[in-house]
Amino acid sequence: MTTWLGIDLGSTTTKAVLVNEDGKVVGAGLTNTRSNYDVAAAIARAEAIADAQLSRLEAELARNGEKNAAGTLAEVKRAVRIEQSLARLTQVRDRTVSLTRSAPDGGDVVADKTQALFDAIAKDGENVFAALAVDRSRFFRDMVAARILSDAENAARKRELPYDVVVGAYDRAIVDVENSEAAESVGVHLVRSLSHAKVSSESARRIEAAWKTLEAEPIDIKAMVGTGYGRSRLPFPKENIRSEILCHGLGAHAFFPKTRTVLDIGGQDTKAIQVDGDGVVTGFQMNDRCAAGCGRYLGYIAEEMNLGIHELGPLAMKATRAVKISSTCTVFAGVELRARLSLGEKRENILLGLHRAIILRAMSLLARSGGVSDELTFTGGVAKNQAVVQELTDLVGKHYGQRTLNIHTDSIFMGAMGAALFAKRGVQA
């Protein structure tokens, strides 16, 4: 299989996408960028390749008479993702258990009980990793942390385990495991997953046969292009490095070909991009000197309110009115928030005002970049927040009239997608 690779080294996550000759995504990988860019790029790339190895099963299955090859493959991919997560969980378990055993307040008893905690999670793997298995933009770390923290807390309340020891060991273990590639091959996970995948025994037989045929064939990566803040760290020649603005533009165009304006709100910057009918960037603006109004703004507000970042949007949606927040500075907005709370203003109303403040900043960048043309594609982590989307829809409608707003579950991969398409297109001078 001939593919082209795009790698997007972002400030919080690293993404890899492989496209085939038709420019279709055949493999995608995602990892945290907390450690270093080289490791993150290698892991994301390995994940994307494993994903691509599975993707090519589809054609082979169809050739062997499988009726709904696409549906079968989707289920197989889901089951493999569960298997991969379980394998990773085993790595985390072993590392955590070993750390608790040697911890000053740990020991054999604590280690054994910790092992039992992890085994219980593994037993419930289908549930724990259900969301991760179908949504590629979710993180293994979040799925496991949600369970392990609450289970450890319960155990601690019953005085069965010292909470700090377990969580401290887990925090170290997860970083170690995230910074290493999978121990087993995708083939191993595939075979194991067939025992619980919801496919007929006949389909399972076809899958095994197809895998045998394809296993030896390597995934051929013809060319690669890197993008994102860490792009200069990639061991690529200069021509193979593309700015994330161009990649986001082309990626958004690939997902939604009618896109003319792209708004990307990421962790530390906001970009307003204009693209033409071919996905070529014709103009752009970014936030300057100050990152107020970006993803970290919401992170800070969540901390101030002692809430999870994913809770902000739903809470703001309950507002009856938006409180006017005048400060554009993240820290001052926090001060305003406290002042309003002390005056008896409802939390949700303040929150809606804060969400509106983000979009007001974005609107100014959009205006600077040349306005909002139809269609508008909204990307970046902040696009997952319903209240932000609501405010954007409202303000775009008021300023520019009705526009189609595109938001994609896989929007996190848009930069990597654009990079892969640049690689495929052939590097231009």
Binding site: V25, F255, V281, T282, R289, R425
Partner: protein, 444 residues
Amino acid sequence: MSADVKHAQKDVSQNRQKEMIAKHFTRLSKARENGEKVGYTFVPGNLTELLGVFDILPVYPEINALQSAMRQKSAGYIREAERLGHNEDVCTYVKCDIGMMTQGNIGPTGEKLPPPDLLLLSYTGCFTFMKWFELLRQEYGCEIAMLHVPYVPGQMPTSEMRQYVKGQLKDEVIPKMEKVSGKKFDPDALLARLKLSARAENDLVWVLESAKKRPSPIDAYFGSVYYVGPIFTGFRGTEDAVSYYKELRAEVEDRMSRGEGPVTPDGTLAKEKYRLVVEGPPNWTNFRDFWRIFYDEGAVFVASTYTKVGGLYDTGFRHDQEKDPLLALADYCIGCYTNLSLPQRVDLLEKYVREYEADGVVFNSIKSCNSFSAGQLVMLRELEKRTGIPGAFIESDLVDPRYYSQANIKNRIESYLQMLSARKAGGHVAQPASLKLPVVAGGH
């Protein structure tokens, strides 16, 4: 190419300029003992020839500030000024100068600067200059002369405007200079100096316009801030300046005949990939890093408005065109880039984009300079509309390193240049296949 700070390559003319400047500062440091008078003044609308007629030695506080920044001293000076109570939003040239003054007034060559006998303010668009000299007068208690240059709302100054400036020169500025220097005004001496100015100006314009060639033998921003040095400061109207520009012109002619690009700190630029026009001053604290962002990508500035703040010569003005030398000075002051209206600035930028066949336009907005930055976004928009070329907008500061972010600016400029090359490649862009993936939020 490698970045060796110690052995940065330079134009040959730069060494000559260095000698000229060194001589000037040594003379300044001995002004008191030699009984020479000193006048502080600003670059835009400077009356250097007139000061020269009265043998008053000029000092340019904003040039000292930018030199302090290039020598990494501005951060400390600014801190000192803020400690004295100057707000964070105040012009950083002012704070850098105030800081330098309180730290012993040691100039860029390490020699002490003399206090002024005269503060000569030629107001050409920057309101802060007035406040700056109010502060200096409080410190030095010396004579002060102010020339008010009117803003020109249309394209051409009226004769009343010219007479208004001339009248002030005659009735206020010259009598003040006579008083400070103890010398009588000699119009012939001024005319002689203005003739010398024009000779240097002819060669300067030739050098700036050499950028119309492909490849351009000069960088009309980073390189040319050096080229305009002598003519913007104490050397206009002197034989020194005439020979400097003659030499500079020969140097550029030589480079042009060999088909060579501009000299960067890392050597001669190998390949000109992008031709850019720029609006706004450069950042001085990270001058070389800022420059490198461009030359690493093969981007050359072919025209800049900043190199016109001390006088606009490439639209035809010369100091010797008027028989009446005071009217010539009036025309010069009125025509400085800092005194131009926004429509005039846009016209000039449009002319540069077309005449120099530019691929792109960069605007550098200055955090602490409202007089330069106000209106830049509107100008950019208008320019984009007229030329069809998208502009890049970056933000930094003159001499405050706290407002310069290399990573952000580099990211912005690299993206911009890649966008330009994608646009150049234009038509033959492959149409990528669309993906059939689920949509979570639809249209409205």
